[in-house]
Symmetry: C2
């Protein structure tokens, strides 16, 4: 079970841009950094641009950057935009030949499992998958339970 490379690369592109908010990045540098094809990245850039998550500037000195804050880019929406389909099993597609179609309940159960998967990603944003900046200190608040003191009688 897997997502397409397009979705995988889209996530990494978004992470790369989120880590460099101060400047424009080029397809060539992102492709070189992750060792993935520029042609694939161009398609991904186009789709992410249409969705309004990245902005591109053409010409010399041009490049791309995030068009929103990382916490405004929902991971479930990225997956829905990048995946060509969600035909987990054959009976999800219209051209399927299974004799059980319309009668068995496999589609419904698989659809439920898929909804659970997507709900998890709908509850998370790009901000949740960004690497910790180098040298950063964890900001979680750790509540230390005080030992119960013996009361004086």
């Amino acid at each position: 079970m897997r997502l397409t490379h397009m979705t995988d690369y889209a996530m990494r592109l978004l992470i790369y841009l989120a880590q460099r908010p101060e400047r424009l990045c080029t397809i060539a540098e992102v492709a070189g950094n992750y060792a993935i094809s520029e042609a694939h990245l161009m398609k991904i850039t186009h789709q992410l641009g249409l969705a309004g998550w990245i902005a591109t500037t053409r010409g010399k000195g041009g490049g791309m950057r995030l068009a929103r804050e990382p916490r405004g880019i929902v991971l479930g929406a990225v997956v829905r935009t990048m995946e060509p389909d969600f035909f987990i099993v054959e009976c999800f597609s219209t051209g399927n030949s299974c004799q059980l179609t319309g009668n068995c309940k496999l589609t419904g159960v698989m659809d439920g499992a898929l909804r659970s998967f997507m709900q998890y990603l709908d509850d998370r944003t790009l901000a949740d998958i960004l690497p910790e900046p180098p040298g950063s200190v964890a900001t979680h608040v750790i509540r230390i339970k005080r030992p119960v003191q013996a009361r004086a009688a």
Copy 2:
């Protein structure tokens, strides 16, 4: 996003056998019924047999049947047995080349989404995906809300 054909066919084979508890079924008849390859079905039968979900009898008049009640066959376990891997994104595999590995949090989030998907299937069994027997009557209780009657003043 999709599961392999092997998982899809395994589910359909189990459904077929569950619908015919009174007799042994052959690979040839299941392959013919679903228009899928006998070679694939032989591999699937072997794996489902190793997992203890189907029992086979060799020789003339032989065939296969479920080795457990449908409610004893958990769908999540079938998916885990049949899928070759769960590398939803490249960084799930050991040979990945992503520069972010070990630092970014994509793996953790995707792993969480996958756990939600599998939990849904772990809560359901083969009995939940069987077609309704022909002529069966739906047993859902339909509550009809009575219209509110105008009160006499």
